[in-house]
Symmetry: C2
Subunit: 142 residues, 2 copies
DNA sequence: TTCCAATATATCACGCCGTGATATAAATTC
DNA sequence: GAATTTATATCACGGCGTGATATATTGGAA
């Protein structure tokens, strides 16, 4: 009778990883639905969250949003442009360094974001301790 | 002197959520880069992981992949079609119920997936206990 | 057997959005 | 004050998700 999990036991590893990604997808799906139900796209939600919460100042530059969202400049620029059209955020030139643009929430953007934040806190509170990680990430990953 | 966090303290909540999504994006970026470095698209990686690990049988139907990936039928069909063209998976009709299609890995698909699984286990092992969740998800969310 | 509903997969037009290449403008360096 | 760096913007292209719709197979009802 061999050990419980011999040297290369790929099956259970793949199963753990697949379940982990499945849980991730379920959460992201929840988030997408919540955003659309609030009348914004999932990306606009992420953008607003980055604008309001990433720096701790209540506003963010395009460059900071690039880091926050892990996207490229042009993707962020296009996203901000669309969010401005949707009335969720506005752009303002930084008076000190006129190259940079400050992105901040509009009143409507703030309302939408706060409601979404509330729903997300509820959903995240449902996860058990260490919920999102696969067992491989918590136990003897060796 | 008031409490540490009065009734509606949106700033720190938004900060927690933004940091949580930032960590998520960092992990997903790592995963995307790993997939591309292995010569496949991020979605092809997710597909292969679902095929090999979601059901525990080593193969999956389109419908099961729809649940696993949380996408719609047509998106999965198109994804599988592209993955077949890339030589990562193959389709086989189920002899019992000829409506369903079994998707399984090719030898090359298995090699690529196992390498990616290894890298992901390494990366996930770096997370502290409960790493991906915001403090709101672990502590008194009340 | 034949008809009908349910199930599983496939196809197509459309549009969002990420990407690479490239541009403009302001600040910094020499 | 010309060159370099930094910050943002524009555009063509392509991947891929979506809604509407089609096809095939199965199971059940008449």
């Amino acid at each position: 009778m061999p050990h419980t999990a011999p040297a290369g036991a790929p099956a259970s590893v793949l199963r753990d990883l697949a379940q982990f990604r499945y849980r991730l997808r379920l959460f992201l799906r929840f988030s997408e639905r919540a955003a659309r139900a609030a009348g914004v796209t999932p990306l606009q939600h992420q953008l607003m969250l980055g604008v309001a919460g990433f720096t701790g100042r209540g506003w963010a530059t395009i460059g900071e949003l690039t880091e926050c969202l892990q996207e490229r400049h042009n993707a962020v620029v296009a996203l901000v442009t669309r969010a401005v059209s949707a009335g969720l955020v506005r752009k303002r030139r930084d008076p000190a360094d006129r190259r940079v643009v400050r992105v901040e929430l509009t009143a409507r953007g703030r309302r939408v974001l706060l409601r979404l934040a509330h729903r997300h806190r509820e959903e995240l509170a449902r996860f058990p301790r260490g919920g999102l990680l696969p067992s491989a990430g918590r136990r003897g990953a060796r």
